[in-house]
């Protein structure tokens, strides 16, 4: 009996397959109304030693994501010791006078944890993800790092070796070189320049300099601790206070670096990278700082320009002209300024044409209003993608630590949707004129053997080595 039903079913389905397709398959369905975004509430408290503790409650996951942000990044490194902020942060988990670095690693892994340190221009961030049943052990480990770091000579030597080879390794990556060279030019003579150091500065770092940096900046009143997971503010502040109340506060001077100056002259720079198959382009200029209201219209602009494969740059350079493997734009924002940058990988013979296309796209963006359709599509992307930016526990904690550490407030959290919705064509035009009209800096990275012939079309080409040292200028392919 069952078999007959099955046979009938199959005949029915095959008949359907042979018949013309259903109407609903011909065009995409309309979306349901957008659902409200209810982000976890951020609660915070300042402990007696000045440490700000923020908590975001997230149930259903047996993890806690802890983010400690110390408000000292590479811009705080002494002028003669670039790289010191990064090195100090990396040393923090490498042992106490009684516990070796290796044993610390073992203790972190014993609680199912992972620990990492990253340093940006303005801050150093420590990310600790662990199973929630081990909150006490995790905080105890953090307190050992903050209250009793050894900065042992043996560990310093090991880390110097690792960092040295890491930088050498990264210098084989054309994207790393291109971005670094662009920022070297945009950050020239600015404290942010210190973040763009070479491998040879590592040897100058001493235990004494690490200790001095640590003593000066690693203070609770200069830090923010964020915990995201299945816990509330009362529990979190009680436990954090128990383990970190001995962390002594001290006044920290943290002057705001001066504003960045945008470039406004025609500059095309070239860095030779032997054996690079393609040409990597980085084009960009200075924009606004982190907590600026231009963030929202510029986000929309960036989306239209080069945020995804549907954006203008990708569609033009890859899909239409077939010059590029990819072409995207993005922004990086810091305390006293930011940059927009366009990155593209193109075929060597299309290097000059690609640069011209990108410059024209920038000019078009600044001089012509985008269509309402483009505007709405970009806003739809940003609104739709926002929950994806915070849906992992560690991403959530990271976002909150930025909001708390830089006082970005509700504008970048619960009001994010609203702020994007409010962006209109005139606001986008305004920021496009302000930031895209000044001439950007162009960086080209590639192998001179395959690329040089294609660079003769540039009127002037500044040649730099891998260390960022200016070598000479080519005028129409001839050395000056």
């Amino acid at each position: 009996m069952k078999k007959i039903f099955l046979l009938c079913g199959l005949i029915f389905l095959h008949a359907l397959a042979a018949s013309p397709q259903e109407k609903f398959r011909k065009s995409p369905p309309f979306p349901e109304p957008l659902q409200a975004l209810r982000l976890p509430a951020i609660e915070s408290v300042r402990l007696s030693n000045g440490l700000m503790v923020a908590v975001a409650y997230q149930k259903n996951l047996p993890f806690i994501s802890l983010e400690l942000v110390v408000l000292a990044g590479e811009s705080s490194s002494p002028d003669k010791l670039p790289g010191l902020a990064t090195f100090t942060a990396e040393m923090l988990s490498r042992g106490t006078p009684l516990i070796s670095g290796s044993e610390m690693e073992e203790r972190v892994e014993s609680i199912g944890g992972s620990f990492s340190a990253t340093t940006s221009l303005d801050y150093s961030r420590f990310s600790f993800l662990f199973l929630d049943e081990h909150l006490d052990q995790a905080l105890e480990l953090l307190s050992l790092m903050l209250l009793q770091p050894a900065f042992a000579d043996k560990e310093i030597v090991n880390l110097k070796r690792t960092d040295y080879y890491d930088i050498l390794q990264r210098q084989r990556d054309p994207e790393f070189i291109g971005r670094r060279q662009l920022l070297r030019i945009l950050f020239k003579n600015h404290p942010y320049q210190k973040s763009l150091y070479n491998e040879d500065v590592i040897k100058n770092i001493s235990r004494e300099s690490i200790l001095n940096f640590f003593e000066k900046y690693y203070r609770p009143n200069n830090s923010v601790l964020v915990l995201a997971g299945n816990l509330n503010l009362t529990t979190a502040s009680r436990k954090v206070s128990h383990y970190l109340n001995m962390w002594p506060k001290q006044d920290v001077e943290r002057p705001l670096p001066p504003p960045l100056e945008p470039n406004n002259s025609e500059r095309v720079c070239y860095v030779d990278l032997p054996q690079a198959k393609d040409a990597t382009l980085f084009i960009g200029n200075v924009i606004f700082p982190l907590a600026d209201s231009d963030y929202f219209p510029f986000s929309v602009l960036n989306q239209v320009l080069g945020g995804t494969p549907n954006s203008r740059l990708f569609m033009n350079l890859r899909e239409s002209r077939e010059f590029a493997y990819y072409a995207f734009s993005e922004m990086e924002l810091f305390r006293s300024g930011g940059v927009y940058l366009i990155r593209a990988k193109v075929i060597p013979s299309a290097c000059f044409a690609s640069v011209q296309e990108i410059l024209q796209e920038l000019s078009r963006m600044a001089k012509e209003k985008m269509s309402t359709f483009e505007l709405e599509q970009a806003k739809s992307y940003l609104i739709g993608n926002f929950p994806l930016q915070v849906h992992r526990l560690d991403d959530l904690a990271r976002r909150i630590s930025e909001i708390a550490g830089f006082s970005l407030g509700e504008e970048h959290w619960n009001k994010f949707y609203e702020n994007i919705m409010l962006v209109d064509l005139s606001r986008v035009s305004e920021v496009a004129v302000r930031y895209l009209l000044p001439r950007p800096v162009v960086i080209i990275v590639g192998d001179k053997n395959s690329l040089f012939d294609h660079l003769r079309d540039f009127e002037k080409l500044e040649i730099y080595d891998l260390k960022g040292v200016y070598r000479y200028t080519l005028t129409k392919g001839v050395e000056e």
């Binding site: 369905p29 979306p31 047996p62 199973l131 992307y381």
Partner: protein, 444 residues
């Protein structure tokens, strides 16, 4: 007339609220409710509600991968994965990605030895769009010679890039052929260059119509969804897709000869000498597999694992180390790959690996070390529930694995109950000379 929902074409085979209990018993998996049912055309559907954010992830997984390819036709599974983005009857080339990107979503796909996944995470109000897109390419993928040519070039480029980026690629492919005994398990997912050059549109059509059919797939939808509405949508877009023929059963993996094997391979691009060491181990999810996984964490996982500590940190015998358990459907192996400064270091490094394995033959692992391994494993295991997409992928994997969804809540406990005694048992059963393969990589 009966309400549509009752007449609806989907048939419940199983509608179970599997509650992965959050009870104090820490061995139980993790709280997440789900419902499973089957459409008339054989498509399995798993729904799981997660209201934390207005997002939904859709994972459409086909039970096909490189293991289903025939000699001379390797690379087909990965090729079809790429073809799936080049358009179907109602969706133009690359439009699938455009549709998802425009709404802020993230599309992707991946191929393993036995499963091909297509997945998207989008704002939850756009679920219908994803189902429209996925059902169209399941029903009416357009396969033309021109499209095959386009994908062929992309794959050949990818192989060239991989070869340029991995100077040990050739030796690892040779090693896999030594380690896995039959063609199905031993060949690479990317396929052989000569096979890709000769593949035709007919080959691709045959593979697509044979495996990318509703009765060989599971559709997992996880996120901020209304289950009743979602069932209606699934029915609308998928129910009328005709089933394919029965999927042929794969022969079981060939059992290898029990004898030690050592070979040398000259790798023309390798910057330093290296070696691949492998042990054939118990098949995935057999009773011996669970202690083997915990052993993997003791030996290889993390910076405090035995091999990492000794080879990299303490004795600097290797400057690069990777490996661990690799499963290929119903076969598994434990692999170690190390790069060394010179040939003398290769020798010392291998002796150190054997000495660490030998220590485990006779000495019990301490409670603290075992606990660390279990905690690390637990973190990785429950991390698979951290987003709707991770959950969807986990559900698809579990559905196609011998574990089954009903037994999934007990799985974590099986790993967490492993004793030091069991570790000694599996070391002596599987980490034996006659079960090992060693491939020394020489530089030119």
């Amino acid at each position: 007339m009966m309400p549509k929902r009752i007449l609806g074409a989907w048939t419940f085979i199983l509608l179970v609220q599997l509650i992965f209990s959050a009870a104090p018993d820490q061995e139980a998996g993790f709280p997440f409710p789900l419902a499973q049912y089957q459409l008339k055309n054989g498509l399995e559907v798993i729904l799981s509600e997660d209201y934390s954010l207005p997002l939904v992830s859709v994972v459409l997984a086909y039970h096909v991968g490189s293991i289903h390819e025939q000699p001379g036709k390797t690379g087909l599974a990965y090729l079809v994965e790429n073809m799936m983005f080049l358009g179907s009857l109602n969706i133009g080339p690359m439009q699938h990605i455009s549709y998802i990107n425009r709404i802020g979503g993230e599309p992707n796909a991946s191929t393993t030895e036995d499963i091909t996944y297509f997945y998207e995470t989008v704002p939850s109000n756009q679920l219908a769009l994803v189902l429209w897109l996925e059902s169209d390419r399941m029903k009416t993928l357009e396969i033309t010679s021109a499209k095959v040519e386009k994908v062929r070039q992309a794959l050949l480029d990818e192989i060239a890039q991989r070869r340029a980026g991995d100077p040990y690629l050739e030796s690892s492919l040779v090693f896999d052929r030594l380690l896995y005994h039959d063609f199905a398990h031993s060949h690479d997912i990317l396929g052989r260059e000569e096979d890709i050059r000769s593949v035709t549109a007919e080959d691709v059509k045959g593979f697509y119509t044979g495996y990318y059919v509703p009765n060989n797939a599971v559709l997992c939808i996880v996120g901020n969804i209304d289950s009743a509405k979602t069932k209606e949508l699934v029915e609308k877009y998928f129910e009328t897709i005709p089933p394919g023929k029965d999927i042929p059963l794969l022969p079981p993996p060939k059992l290898p000869e029990k004898k030690p094997l050592t070979q040398v391979f000259q790798e023309s691009l390798a910057p330093a000498p290296a070696f691949h060491l492998g042990y054939r181990i118990a098949p995935p999810y057999s009773s011996d597999y669970y202690p083997l996984v915990i052993l993997d964490y003791i030996l290889m996982k993390g910076k405090s694992s035995r091999l990492f500590k000794r080879l990299i940190k303490k004795e600097s015998l290797a400057f690069y180390l990777s490996g661990g358990i690799e499963k290929r459907k119903d076969a598994a192996a434990f692999k170690v790959f190390a790069m060394n400064n010179n040939n003398a270091m290769v020798d010392l490094c291998q002796k150190a690996v054997f000495s660490e394995i030998n220590k485990l033959r006779t000495s019990y692992v301490s409670e603290a070390e075992l606990e660390k391994a279990k905690n690390m494993f637990k973190k990785d295991y429950v991390n698979r529930f951290s987003t709707p997409l991770e959950k969807g992928l986990f559900l698809a994997d579990t559905f196609f694995s011998p574990v089954s969804l009903e037994n999934a809540p007990q799985e974590l406990g099986k790993y967490l109950r492993i004793t030091p005694f069991e570790i000694i048992g599996i070391i002596n059963r599987y980490f034996t000379p006659e079960n090992s393969i060693l491939l020394n990589v020489k530089t030119r």
